[in-house]
């Protein structure tokens, strides 16, 4: 077993885990943070995307011990005081989700995009988010939502 100490959504967590434990399983099974979804377990679909020290990673391809001493953010970190994050609000207003399964990973990728390239347009949005597969929406409303989210993040000055 391996010692693990990792900050998740701003709270320090510590556990003894089998070294092969995936970060996705640590979040879902050990911490009960089931908002992070697992869609392919081979790093393609992006449903399991979380941020580690602010950078997006596939939690299905990351060992929990690789996050030792680092800071992990999941979809559960987005809303605060009961209010949806502007990115979540934009997805709701633009019908940017249908079944909702790919959504948490997508939101985390958009959070990264808002921090790194908040001024990008529709084509860049499509390129940047092509690592998050959605089977329901056909993407059009997602791009609408991301455009609106980036606008509102820019307006609030949260994007840098």
């Amino acid at each position: 077993m391996a010692e693990l100490s990792v900050s998740v959504n701003g709270e320090l967590t510590a556990a003894q885990v089998d070294p092969r434990t995936l970060l996705s399983d640590y979040l879902r099974d050990h911490l009960g943070l089931t908002g992070t979804h697992v869609g392919c377990e081979h790093g393609y679909c992006g449903a399991c995307t979380v941020l580690v020290d602010g950078a997006s990673v596939r939690s299905c391809l990351t060992l929990a011990v690789q996050a030792d001493g680092r800071s992990v953010d999941t979809v559960e970190s987005l809303a605060s005081n009961g209010e949806l994050h502007p990115i979540q609000q934009a997805f709701k207003e633009c019908h940017g989700l249908q079944c909702g399964f790919c959504t948490p990973g997508l939101l985390m990728s958009v959070l990264e995009l808002a921090a790194t390239n908040p001024g990008c347009g529709r084509d860049e949005i499509r390129e940047h988010l092509s690592g998050n597969v959605c089977r329901c929406t056909g993407y059009h409303h997602i791009v609408d939502a991301v455009e609106a989210a980036l606008n509102s993040v820019r307006e609030q000055g949260d994007g840098s």
């Binding site: 869609g39 081979h42 559960e76 079944c99 329901c136 929406t137 993407y139």
Partner: protein, 793 residues
């Protein structure tokens, strides 16, 4: 009684009710559910397409630390999935829960390891050794139907589940006297919906009562309960099926699977909950496949392109077993029915063979056979246009059904209730700017680029019920849906519906319907679904029917509840019930709006002051109604699609540049949700057209078992869409609604094939695009053929 005021919510683009919880990560999907004491299941699957199971050594796995039990076929030999069609000559297959003496496709489950957790179960599964003696595999339609190919199931005559044939009375005369004919053979690749949430289930069994509870990723909870009842030999009253949030279905989650039965049986044996979460590789080989059609089509027509007769021979590669509840006949039957499509075709001769092969069984996928049928008839129209030198739009306009044709009895016996085919084609040419596209194409050609424009028109049967399904030979005729509406003492309502929402937004649209009928705010309505103990019996969500049928049932049930409100309000206000009007938040006397009772006050009174109720009125506000959209022959949605593509001549990669849709699904409850369904369907159709295919080698080994081999459209593959609506109401349905969940996925194969053919049409040779998906390799083959090199893909 009808609603008393103009709708506040019907037709409004309200935001979805379920989005908050899904956006917060508070959705509750099956993989999120872990009852106390839950064990993890892992299936050991066949790596042979066809083999005798000589033995399975489970000894090492059974004694591995943390393993509770390893099951093999004989443990579950009393159980099977058998779905028998009533069509004459249908040959039955028995799908074992775990393989017995034979495996019939790669991915068929051989053993089931149940252990403390998934990691241990996967380790132990590696220790199971199956002794499989390979047999020749029938991997394609022709091999399976060859007289030299041994039948795949005991007692069968050949490898056809069923063969069917139908010919109209005047076909022979019409076809033999036609001055022109064009034939084309069309191939659709095998693929499926591939939802991002894989399949999963959690089975529990209570030894005290004998009751099962199964949380499962399904679109059809009640039908799964019925299928489990048959497979387990347990009455339905002892089975509860719960489909919580489900991460996409697209038809793939509308079948009973052996894994669901196995988890129930294991839970009973072990008296512990058993959970299985499919991994993606399993999904590619064990979740049902779809779409693999081969159609040979001949059109007979006169000098101006009017079609005089249509002939089609349909073969569908149904894989190894007949699936519950559809049987192995659904795609073949649907293709036979809808292939004449939106055209004024009177004479038709069609045959269809549902072929059994050593591949993963074949189930439903969004559109069910209609994409293949649309591909065939639209490719044929393009070939007829080319044969006569007539424009593709013009040839369609000469044959499309027009206003005076409805109701239209198609040569296959379908009754088209209504439509706007010519108008939708006209409208999409304007919306998608055909003129501009052609100008840009001309400029691109001058610059040496390969740009093409494609289009297609279709009509689709939606919301079909008893009349249709009784003809399909299915063992359970599902027609109606059910809804219960309950207003409580605090004046809020619960709508319980037999459909399931796995992205379609029914949690919102059904609330919109109920809110209007009851004069409530949307926030005062809660919609529940998915739990067979909680909602009344109905079939579930598939086949573009839930908004129509559940919407109709909600309307009927809410109106019955509103009638009670009127009756009690009339009594209290000393007026006649027929003079009462249900308005927003209150029930008033018609013509004297100052005389009213607030709805919340009425609700409290009805439940909590029963002594004040009029005689004969029971103190409850609850009604359950079914709705079957009589006469059940379907409400026909139609659409026209127009797209442009560019092909990279070096790589063969096709890029979709623009895509426009004009759809007519009648009045829309929520246009934003309708558009989301259209966009999602079109993107899946683009996947069908360009990327997605389950390939096999000659031995039946699947070659597409990861997302690196099986490509799905990603965000940069899909353009922004243009969409517009026509709204021709159905004469058959409440509110004139028509279904539309599948439509987007029907036309893209035809549209993109037409565009690719057009992009190559100025090259030296003529090519006929006859095969999907149009992968870069295939497109390069067409380019070579068009350039006069090689013979095509």
């Amino acid at each position: 009684m009808a609603a008393d005021q103009a709708p506040r919510y019907f037709g409004a683009r309200v935001a979805r009710r379920q989005d908050d919880r899904l956006l917060r990560g508070d959705g509750r999907y099956v993989a999120d559910i872990s009852p106390a004491g839950v064990l993890a299941a892992k299936f050991v699957r066949s790596d042979e397409a066809h083999a005798v199971v000589a033995g399975i050594d489970i000894e090492a796995a059974s004694v591995a630390e943390g393993v509770k039990e390893v099951f093999v076929g004989e443990d579950f030999a009393d159980n099977e999935i058998r779905c028998v069609s009533s069509y004459a000559g249908f040959q039955e297959s028995a799908q074992p829960i775990l393989a017995l003496d034979r495996v019939r496709h790669v991915g068929e489950a051989l053993a089931m390891v149940v252990a403390d957790n998934e990691y241990v179960a996967e380790d132990a599964a590696e220790l199971v050794v199956a002794d499989l003696e390979p047999l020749p595999a029938a991997v394609d339609i022709d091999t399976a139907l060859d007289v030299g190919c041994a039948p795949l199931h005991p007692g069968w005559r050949d490898n056809a589940f069923v063969r069917r044939r139908a010919t109209t009375y005047g076909f022979n005369e019409a076809s033999s006297s036609a001055p022109h004919r064009v034939s084309i053979e069309l191939h659709n690749g095998r693929h499926s919906g591939v939802p991002i949430e894989t399949r999963a289930c959690v089975a529990e069994h209570d030894p005290g009562t004998g009751r099962f509870r199964l949380h499962t990723t399904t679109q059809i909870p009640h039908l799964i309960r019925a299928g489990l009842s048959w497979a387990l030999g347990v009455p339905e009253s002892l089975i509860q099926v719960i489909a919580p949030d489900v991460g996409g279905g697209f038809g793939i989650k509308a079948q009973l699977y052996p894994e669901e039965v196995a988890c129930c049986l294991a839970a009973r044996r072990l008296s512990r909950p058993v959970k299985w979460v499919e991994d993606r590789r399993e999904h590619f080989v064990a979740a049902h496949h779809s779409r693999e059609h081969r159609h040979s089509v001949t059109g007979y027509f006169d000098d101006d392109g009017t079609i005089l007769a249509l002939e089609a021979d349909i073969a569908v590669d149904m894989g190894a077993y007949s699936v519950f509840p559809w049987t192995a006949t659904m795609d073949g039957g649907m293709a036979m029915g809808i292939l004449p499509g939106p055209y004024r075709i009177h004479e038709y001769s069609v045959s269809s063979t549902s072929v059994c092969t050593n591949k993963t069984p074949y189930g439903a996928y969004r559109g069910v056979a209609r994409p293949a049928a649309c591909f065939s008839i639209e490719r044929l129209m393009d070939q007829i246009a080319r044969h006569l030198g007539v424009d593709r739009v013009e040839i369609r306009n000469r044959n499309l059904l027009a206003d005076g044709d409805y109701p239209w009895r198609s040569p296959s016996g379908l009754i088209y209730d209504s439509g706007s085919l010519v108008e939708s084609l006209d409208a999409v040419l304007a919306l998608g700017d055909l003129e501009g596209l052609l100008k840009r194409q001309a400029d691109a050609r001058t610059a040496g680029r390969l740009v093409g424009v494609g289009l297609a028109v279709f009509t689709e049967q939606t919301a079909h019920t008893t009349q249709e399904f009784k003809q399909r030979g299915v063992p359970i005729v599902f027609g109606y849906e059910t809804a219960k509406v309950r207003l409580d003492a605090s004046g809020t309502a619960v709508v319980s519906a037999s459909i399931h929402d796995h992205g379609q937004g029914l949690e919102t649209t059904l609330a919109q319907v109920a809110a209007d009928r009851l004069g409530l705010d949307l926030e005062q309505i809660r919609v529940e679904y998915g739990d067979t103990e909680q909602v009344a019996y109905g079939a579930g969500t598939f086949a573009s029917r839930s908004a129509v049928l559940a919407g109709g049932a909600v309307t009927k049930a809410a109106d019955a509840v509103a009638d009670t409100l009127r009756q009690v309000a009339a009594h209290m206000l000393e007026a006649a019930p027929e003079d009462m009007v249900v308005e927003t938040g209150r029930v008033s006397v018609a013509g004297s709006p100052s005389q009213f009772l607030e709805t919340t006050e009425l609700c409290r009174l009805i439940y909590q002051r029963p002594e004040r109720l009029p005689e004969g009125v029971e103190p409850h506000l609850e009604a359950s109604r079914t709705y079957d959209a009589h006469p059940g022959t379907g409400a026909y949605t139609n659409a026209a699609h127009l797209a442009s593509v560019e092909i990279d001549p070096l790589t063969g990669k096709t890029r979709v540049l623009s895509y426009a849709v004009v759809e007519d699904c009648g009045p829309m409850i929520n246009p934003t949700i309708v558009e989301g369904q259209i966009f999602g369907g079109v993107a899946q159709g683009v996947g069908s057209a360009l990327f997605e295919e389950f390939l096999y080698d000659e031995a039946g080994q699947p070659l597409s078992t990861t997302f690196a081999d099986y490509l799905v459209p990603v965000m940069s593959d899909i353009p922004d869409f243009q969409v517009a609506h026509l709204q021709t109401p159905s004469p058959h349905t409440i509110g004139g609604l028509k279904g539309m969940g599948e439509g987007g996925a029907i036309a893209p194969g035809a549209v993109i094939a037409s565009a690719v053919e057009d992009a190559l049409s100025h090259l030296v040779g003529t090519v006929t695009v006859d095969r999907l998906p149009l992968t870069p390799e295939r497109v390069l083959g067409y380019i070579d053929a068009a350039n006069g090199n090689g013979t095509g893909p």
